[in-house]
């Protein structure tokens, strides 16, 4: 069930990361400058990205496009979403039910097909 494709400690160069994210490398640099992405920097100053950062890029793009969240606020929104995720995982571990989605609408339920 677990997929290891994102678990590999593969590092992507700025250009290949930008290509996989479908973005211009300059925009990736801008994300880094804004603290939205945290790449490794080698001794020669080149940027290297972990593959899971592609998920962060996708989330940035969705939040930008869907809610017009500006760049300054994006960092805050992403930090808050991350913290909520941690809290929800802790709640799940105790077997508590999460009210988060239920506030808006009854959560979708998956059922067996008999």
């Amino acid at each position: 069930m677990t997929s290891y494709s994102l678990m590999r400690t593969s590092r992507l160069s700025l250009d290949s990361f930008a290509a996989r994210a479908g973005m211009h490398p300059e925009l990736v640099r801008r994300f880094v400058a804004l603290g939205l992405l945290e790449p490794f920097r080698d001794t020669s100053g080149r940027l290297w990205f972990a593959a899971p950062q592609l998920r962060a890029v996708a989330r940035i793009q969705r939040l930008r496009a869907g809610l017009s969240v500006n760049y300054a606020a994006l960092g805050l929104v992403m930090d808050l979403l991350d913290r909520i995720e941690v809290l929800e995982a802790a709640l799940r571990a105790t077997g508590s039910h999460m009210p988060s989605n239920a506030v808006h609408s009854p959560p979708s339920v998956a059922r067996f097909e008999e």
């Binding site: 969705r62 508590s96 059922r111």
Partner: protein
């Protein structure tokens, strides 16, 4: 998306631009797929985005009001000919209803506030400008399992309702899955735009309450009903577990409340030691005694010095 755009935003047909924007912003925050993990949220988000993109532009709103949901089929050709007509003769087949068409490229994109003109990343949901492909968000749905289903695990076909059309897919449920554990269904989450990859769907397992089994993590507790003499003298009795029948050896001198552990008879653990099964003793007495039983219990009362209310 057959739903009326005004209904989708929950506003009246006479709503002002401000009301539209307020309704849209509120719903967009509520249903954005990165905020709301429910699989139904994405569809709803697209619906309100689509509704707002049409109604926020006075021109498309007018066309929508006039022609209804099919307005897109009508206007392009219709208005083009109207424009030509206007250019040629300063007249208009639309009468007073027609005005010079404002190209909506810069004006009505996403309401007034907070747009970067140099926004390099717009158009996730199709209606605004072109952007590169954006992968879909992860989603979450609950999967309720009986204790037995969680114990057995296995490959099952599952239907997800609540996200528009019901979708079904196969998942492997790990044997011994616990309450709150997430099962990842790769690529079954939110759709990506522009041909990009879909997100993952996480099924959050809920173990349904069971009339006999109480589950705590991987440990399972079950009542073990004993006759008074079984508790007093000891016995070997069978107990039904999710994995089948198991034998419990009850030591002599066992009272109600004692928990007898059957090591490893709880939920299996694919990555380690399985849980334990706890048989919780309950001493039961016959509701009605036969004459012989009464005789025996009375002689026991006469001869026994046991007093459970005194320390033993």
């Amino acid at each position: 998306m057959a739903r009326d755009y005004y209904d989708a935003l929950g506003v009246s047909r006479t709503a002002s631009t401000e009301e539209l924007q307020r309704a849209y912003r509120k719903l967009a925050r509520q249903y954005h797929p990165d905020v709301n993990r429910d699989p139904g949220a994405e569809e709803r988000f697209k619906e309100v985005s689509e509704a707002y993109s049409v109604l926020s532009d006075p021109d498309t709103r007018r066309r929508y009001d006039r022609f209804g949901p099919d307005f897109r089929q009508i206007p392009e050709g219709y208005e083009a000919s109207a424009d030509t007509a206007r250019a040629g003769r300063a007249g208009s087949p639309f009468g007073s209803g027609s005005r010079v068409r404002v190209d909506s490229d810069s004006g009505g994109r996403f309401g007034a506030g907070g747009i970067d003109i140099d926004d390099l990343l717009s158009g996730l949901f199709g209606s605004r400008g072109a952007a590169g492909p954006i992968p879909g968000a992860d989603q979450e749905a609950e999967l309720e399992l009986s204790v037995e289903e969680a114990y057995r695990g296995g490959r099952r076909r599952i239907t997800l309702s609540g996200a528009g059309e019901p979708v079904s897919f196969e998942v492997t449920i790990p044997a011994g899955v616990t309450d709150g554990q997430r099962i990842r269904v790769s690529g079954a989450g939110g759709q990506g735009s522009g041909g990009s990859t879909a997100g993952d769907l996480y099924l959050v397992v809920r173990i349904a309450p069971h009339p006999r089994y109480r589950v705590n993590g991987r440990d399972i507790s079950v009542d073990l009903l004993l006759a008074p003499w079984e508790g007093a003298l000891g016995a070997t009795v069978s107990v039904v577990t999710p994995g089948g029948e198991a034998k419990v050896r009850v030591p002599a001198g066992t009272s109600t409340g004692r928990r007898l552990r059957l090591r490893g008879e709880g939920m299996p653990n694919p990555r380690g030691t399985p849980g334990d099964l706890y048989a919780e003793v309950k001493i039961m007495v016959p509701r009605k005694l036969t004459a012989r039983e009464r005789e025996l219990f009375e002689s026991l009362r006469r001869d026994s010095t046991f007093d459970p209310r005194k320390g033993t």
